[in-house]
Symmetry: C2
Subunit: 295 residues, 2 copies
């Protein structure tokens, strides 16, 4: 990773971490806040908010304008992890090396803290009215609800549950990821574009960029599950194989998955090039980072 990118990621993560905590201040009973804050603080790299910021900046807007939308998105991402980890779902005891929410606070509170983060996200998003006109905030509201809801992330999670313990064809696997992880990732970029006043043509090209980047991100995740370092990833290696989950390496071989990853990255880059953005170097650098990461 080059120094500029390292500084950019670190600085923006700190910026988003602080904004998230501000939005949780005094919002509800102490025990609930404690459980919500635990998972927000256990958060990772804030990739989705940073993608939103980088896209908005590439179009001439600023990160301050992104804050409410980016925090709403990160709260929804966080709630989805809490619920995914529950015993009746993936039944994970650890995430990023830390005990999962229900291991610390119990199942009932984990469900409620997820519900609270999801609901509060839609309050926080509304704070976008400080910077954006009401029509734009309304558009983002419906886009986020679609990306996170039954035709987006939650739908993808259902398809993923149903695909367990069986061989999944490649097109079904891609469809699962397009919904389960892809929908929020695409939202991060499209919301950044809308905040940056992108033209319809730019929006369409950024859609293509986001679709390829999202798929590349998931293929990389699957590859890391095969050959990653347990201490860096914070969860057991090979868990997909143990759980009999179809993955890109299991369907395409490891080499085939790496080849597909390169193709997706190339198509994402080509889309970026077509955009002729005044300042797209950071978006390009993040794309490379996302697929070269080791965790």
């Amino acid at each position: 990773m080059n120094n500029d990118l390292h500084t950019y990621l670190k600085d923006n993560k700190k910026f988003i971490d602080q904004a998230l905590l501000n939005y949780l201040d005094q919002k509800g009973p102490a025990s609930l806040l404690s459980a919500m804050t635990y998972s927000i603080k256990a958060g990772g790299k804030r990739l989705r908010p940073i993608l939103m910021i980088a896209t908005a900046e590439a179009l001439g807007s600023s990160r301050e304008v992104c804050v409410p939308v980016a925090c709403a998105l990160e709260m929804i991402h966080t709630y989805s992890l809490i619920h995914d980890d529950l015993p009746s779902m993936d039944n994970d005891d650890f995430r990023r090396g830390q005990p999962t929410n229900h291991k610390v606070y119990g199942e009932g509170m984990a469900i409620l803290s997820g519900d609270a983060l999801l609901t509060h996200a839609f309050y926080v998003l509304g704070e976008g009215k400080r910077f954006l006109d009401a029509e734009t905030v309304l558009r983002l509201y419906q886009m986020l609800a679609e990306a996170a809801g039954p035709t987006g992330m939650v739908g993808g999670q259902v398809l993923d549950l149903e695909a367990e313990e069986q061989q999944t064809p490649l097109d079904s696997l891609e469809n699962i990821h397009r919904n389960k992880t892809g929908a929020l990732l695409r939202f991060s970029i499209i919301a950044g574009a809308i905040i940056g006043n992108a033209s319809e043509e730019e929006l369409s090209t950024l859609h293509t960029f986001a679709a390829h980047l999202g798929l590349a991100f998931q293929i990389k995740d699957d590859i890391l599950d095969v050959e990653g370092d347990v201490d860096v990833i914070g969860k057991p290696i090979g868990s997909d194989e143990v759980n009999h989950k179809s993955t890109f390496p299991s369907l395409l071989t490891l080499d085939g998955a790496k080849q597909r990853l390169s193709q997706e990255v190339e198509m994402a880059e080509q889309a970026l090039t077509r955009l002729h953005l005044s300042e797209s170097s950071m978006l390009r650098a993040i794309t490379h980072y996302m697929v070269q990461r080791v965790s």
Copy 2:
């Protein structure tokens, strides 16, 4: 119940039932839709949507304008019942005489169908833009998120979980209900008022009305748990006592609770009288019905 009210409730319930199903049409994987639809169809009297409609109509607006907001509210009410019934929460096998969502679809799917209804509600609410200006829809978005979130319904559910198995003082019990059930009920009336273009003074008086009605509604629920008819209510009588839950009858005696119920209804009615609404007879009739109901 008089004939006019009976017809009004029945007709509006049918109207809302149909609108809810329309908003779920083809929204996600078949299995998820099936679980969401099961609980939506198991829905009860649609009291919250009908209160919203009656309030909007009392101020000269129409039920058509209420549809997106009323359906969003009912979806959130429905998701909260699905999650409340889960084994790690109230662990209920039946609701309104039918098996609860997780008994039919399993815990994982019940959690996800709740998440999907909550998220989709925030898409549906946005459809209010067909009738209302963007600023008004945005205001309703943030009000609904507050009513349903950590400082509203979810916060109340946490307080309720924490109050189990212990004697709760009366003011704490009132605070639990003000959040757990009161917040959505107040929203139904205030949203109806905003849709009906209420003045600030009218809004403030309707707040008072809604607060007393909400408390009356909960006291009536507690009384029904002591002396209701199991076949009419659809759940075991005396479950609060079995669960060692503090209730209005347990803290005030049954007679004391009935007295308090009368007081709350009287104050709700006084607020309605102060409003001098052109057409408040239906709102008044619903108030009476809500506290005289047998289920």
